[in-house]
């Protein structure tokens, strides 16, 4: 009988432990796993919660309405109306009970659908009357006119344009083509999902392209940082670089540039020179690419940026080393990554956190959050950045990028003609900033299968910059 009593005590302890384990699991489930579970698109509860408020409006930086909730005629229900249409589709995203939430609508959902009327304090503060059920308004950094210019400039080409404010990282324009009309999702959904051009993809932040010669900016920075005296070193560009094993790297059109320095090499976009640098820099180039946040997450606000890639090659893989020096091999970059490279050079080597949101106002119009710009980090020294700026100015004034010139403004830039596996026609790239002194905006343009960078992409940059500087 004493045995029995002792056994009962043991059982009690076992159950105490089991109860404790279950309570711990419940806490873990609700507090750690829960927040991620509730946002799953098939959770109808979230839609019920959202539907209780009139969703806030998304504005552009000038106060123009871009996405608003309007009352459907004849019923109390609200419908999201995208006044920006296809022009701002990717940047702002859509909000649809059937197809989910994307883009800014998704990332700022907690504000747009915030329900202050559920708060007891708000109720008391309002004299015990129900508070207006209206979500917060979001003021984006987009400049609709500039966005529209970029959208039109891309025409029927596939590709992307990203325009950043140099000193703050604000996203003034972010266009992805082909686009879609978020107002007619229901009608077009099947086609949108099935199209091989993936119109739903936001190419600006998720499209990964070989950056081609625009990457030479990074290689040049790496050379300045790691090879002493490279600025004044002379190199004989014979038009071909022997990579061993019968492989060679040549300049566009088989040009022979002769005795050149770093500056001329960038201005004339010498593949031989930068291929050679790629081999000489070995893993220093990998390090510089990482400094520019290749292979890394880029902190951002209102967008989610896919990681750009710069693989680490073994030093004996000369071909890949050389190719990576000119932004080929397996180097892949998003358009916003390339815009950030231009922005960093323009901003004395400091990369700014790209942001799509300026401020948030509550339903009464009071600003509840205004977002301050913040630095990602000092990527390279102001001195090197200033040196590269000089070269990039030359690219546009007399090098490969003359088509990007804007009257009265000293534009700086770098062209790129990127080979890729999908077709023989290369992607056309341009990255740049303006003006040369006190740069205000930075840009990246890619036209898929657009041919020479100095042509298609530079022309689009020209149109966008003209619009910005000569309104």
């Amino acid at each position: 009988m004493d045995n029995l009593t002792n056994n009962i005590k043991r059982i009690m302890i076992i159950f105490l432990v089991v109860f404790f384990v279950l309570i711990s699991y419940l806490a873990y489930f609700t507090l750690v796993k829960g927040p991620e579970i509730v946002t799953r698109p098939d959770n109808r509860r979230m839609w019920d919660i959202r539907n209780k408020v009139v969703r806030g409006t998304i504005y552009d930086r000038t106060g123009k309405e871009l996405s608003v909730s309007e009352k459907k005629s004849g019923s109390g229900e609200y419908k999201r109306v995208y006044k920006g249409g296809a022009v701002t589709a990717h940047a702002l995203g859509y909000y649809d009970p059937q197809y989910g939430i994307t883009g800014l609508e998704n990332l700022y959902d907690s504000y747009l659908s915030s329900n202050i009327s559920a708060s007891l304090l708000a109720w008391i503060g309002n004299g015990f009357k129900e508070v207006n059920k209206k979500g917060d308004d979001v003021y984006s950094t987009l400049d609709y006119q500039l966005q529209k210019t970029a959208y039109d400039a891309l025409g029927s080409s596939k590709g992307s344009v990203v325009v950043l404010k140099v000193d703050t990282g604000e996203i003034l324009a972010m266009v992805s083509k082909p686009s879609y009309d978020p107002n007619n999702l229901n009608k077009n959904w099947e086609t949108l999902v099935k199209s091989k051009n993936v119109p739903l993809l936001n190419r600006s932040v998720s499209g990964l392209y070989p950056p081609g010669s625009t990457f030479k900016v990074v290689t040049a920075v790496s050379a300045l940082e790691n090879i002493e005296g490279i600025k004044n070193e002379t190199f004989n560009d014979k038009g071909k670089l022997n990579l061993g094993g019968g492989y060679t790297l040549s300049n566009d059109h088989g040009e022979v540039l002769g005795k050149i320095k770093l500056e001329t090499a960038l201005v004339k976009s010498s593949n031989v020179f930068f291929g050679n640098l790629g081999i000489r820099l070995e893993n220093d180039l990998y390090k510089t690419a990482q400094d520019f946040r290749f292979n890394k997450d880029i902190p951002s606000n209102g967008i989610i940026i896919d990681k750009s890639r710069f693989p680490k090659y073994k030093t004996h893989e000369k071909g890949n080393m050389a190719q990576s020096g000119i932004g080929q091999a397996e180097v892949l970059a998003t358009p916003i990554q390339m815009a950030l490279i231009a922005q960093t050079i323009a901003n004395d080597g400091v990369m700014m956190k790209p942001t799509l949101v300026n401020k948030i106002n509550d339903y009464k119009g009071n600003t509840i959050q205004s977002l301050k710009s913040s630095e990602v980090e000092q990527v390279t020294s102001a001195e090197y950045a200033s040196e590269i700026r000089k070269y990039m100015r030359e690219v546009v004034s007399k090098g490969t990028g003359t088509r990007a010139q804007v009257s009265g403004i000293q534009v700086c830039g770098k062209t790129g003609t990127a080979q890729h596996i999908e077709s023989k026609t290369p992607h056309s790239w341009f990255i740049g900033f303006a003006p040369y002194k006190n740069p205000q905006i930075a840009i990246a343009v890619i036209v898929e299968e657009g041919g020479y960078g100095g042509v298609a992409a530079a022309r689009i940059s020209q149109k966008v910059m003209s619009r910005y500087f000569h309104k």
Partner: protein
């Protein structure tokens, strides 16, 4: 002690008051029925406590109060879900308490005398365990309900009690291994019927209770290990044999690919708990409608959604305290039969809580059973109160 008890009792009234006040104002302008519910519950608690104190000052009144708090949480939630259900539950609660008082007050002689009725319990066990196999009908995939006249009930609920009574009696004087053969066979038959009726939750409880009682009586860990081994191989065999068991395990392992099909119920339950967060969305502010069987098997999930994780903790802690107080009276019981019986019943209630709460949160594979004292359900409540009355009786030092 009495003072603290009175404080506890008072706090239950406070809880009920605010609970029903909240329920009352949910309907504009005010729902007077909520006031009636509050009044009836307070009177029941006050009266029963008074009776217990009057006739058995030595008995454990904490057990009753803990139970009443659990019942209160359940009725408040049921009232919010469906007033009709809450009314029914209140009626069953009254009946349960009457049965409880009847056993406590009129079972004058000690419990030990019932140890003699081993074969009556044996017959009762087999009868109730098997009943639904022959005349049962299916609800929610398990064929474990029986309808006699206007009354439908789950015979296995009674079967569980008879099994525990039988085991307490058969194991109270085990001294040779031979004497374990008969209980072993009875346990196996009971488990077999539960598997046939697809009532896996009850099977799990029967197993836990039986293993615990055998261990208590014999002190042999070997038996526990052997049972676990048998259970594991039995489980593996049924996994191979039955599709519905395979499905349960699959859903438990990863519910997300089957959100709209097999795992719909579990996922909705997980959404409910996750949406509730620490403090809950507030009574009447959640969406219990999305959760299936929200008044019974999944009541824990909808309580967590509206009253928060903290209320979920409270339910588990209350159940543990109830288990602790019950098993404490088992320790103080004066004979083996009473000890085993009380321990068995306590383990039954506690395991049932663990199995259903673990199930609706995805901690263990989901099996449909009720949350004792909280879920709606007449048989379940009545059985729980009958178990409680025996525990109460033992706590009074019945001999």
């Amino acid at each position: 002690m009495t003072k603290k008890l009175r404080m506890f009792q008072f706090l239950i009234y406070v809880f009920l008051f605010f609970g029903f006040l909240n329920l009352g104002v949910l309907k504009k302008p005010f729902d007077p029925k909520a006031g009636i519910f509050f009044g009836v519950l307070v009177v029941i608690i006050a009266l029963t406590t008074w009776i217990l104190k009057r006739f058995y000052p030595m008995g454990d009144r904490i057990i009753f109060l803990l139970t009443m708090l659990l019942c209160s949480i359940g009725i408040i939630m049921l009232y919010r879900l469906n007033i009709k259900l809450a009314t029914k539950q209140l009626a069953w609660l009254l009946l349960g308490i009457l049965a409880f008082l009847f056993v406590v007050l009129f079972l004058k002689r000690g419990l030990a005398q019932f140890a003699r009725l081993k074969y009556v319990f044996l017959a009762g066990t087999i009868m109730f365990m098997s009943l639904a196999t022959f005349i049962g009908y299916e609800i929610l995939g398990a064929k474990n309900w029986v309808k006699i006249g206007p009354v439908s009930f789950q015979p296995s609920e009674f079967g569980k009690i008879f099994l525990i009574l039988y085991l307490a009696s058969a194991l109270s004087n085990v001294n040779t291994r031979k004497k374990l053969i008969e209980p072993g066979i009875v346990i196996s038959i009971s488990l077999g019927f539960m598997v046939i009726q697809r009532d896996l939750g009850t099977a799990l409880i029967i197993f836990a209770v039986s293993v615990t009682m055998v261990y208590l009586a014999t002190s042999k860990k070997l038996y526990v290990l052997v049972s676990l081994g048998l259970f594991a191989s039995g489980g593996a065999a049924s996994y191979a044999m039955f599709d519905h068991i395979k499905r349960r395990i699959m859903i438990w392992h990863n519910p997300w690919p089957y959100v709209y099909n097999e795992s719909y119920q579990l996922v909705q339950s997980m959404y409910a708990i996750a949406t509730g967060g620490l403090f809950g969305r507030g009574l009447g502010m959640g969406h219990p409608g999305y959760v299936a069987v929200n008044e019974s098997d999944f009541i824990f999930s909808v309580i967590c959604e509206e009253m928060g994780l903290l209320m979920g903790f409270a339910i588990l802690i209350l159940h543990f305290l109830l288990f602790y107080r019950s098993i404490r009276s088992a320790i103080h019981a004066e004979n083996n039969f009473s000890k085993l019986l009380t321990a068995g019943l306590s383990v039954m209630i506690a395991t049932q809580t663990l199995v259903i709460v673990g199930g609706v949160t995805g901690f263990i594979p989901l099996t449909g059973i009720t949350l004792p004292f909280v879920s709606s359900g007449g048989t379940s409540l009545l059985i729980s109160f009958l178990s409680l009355s025996i525990i109460q009786k033992v706590s009074e030092g019945e001999d």
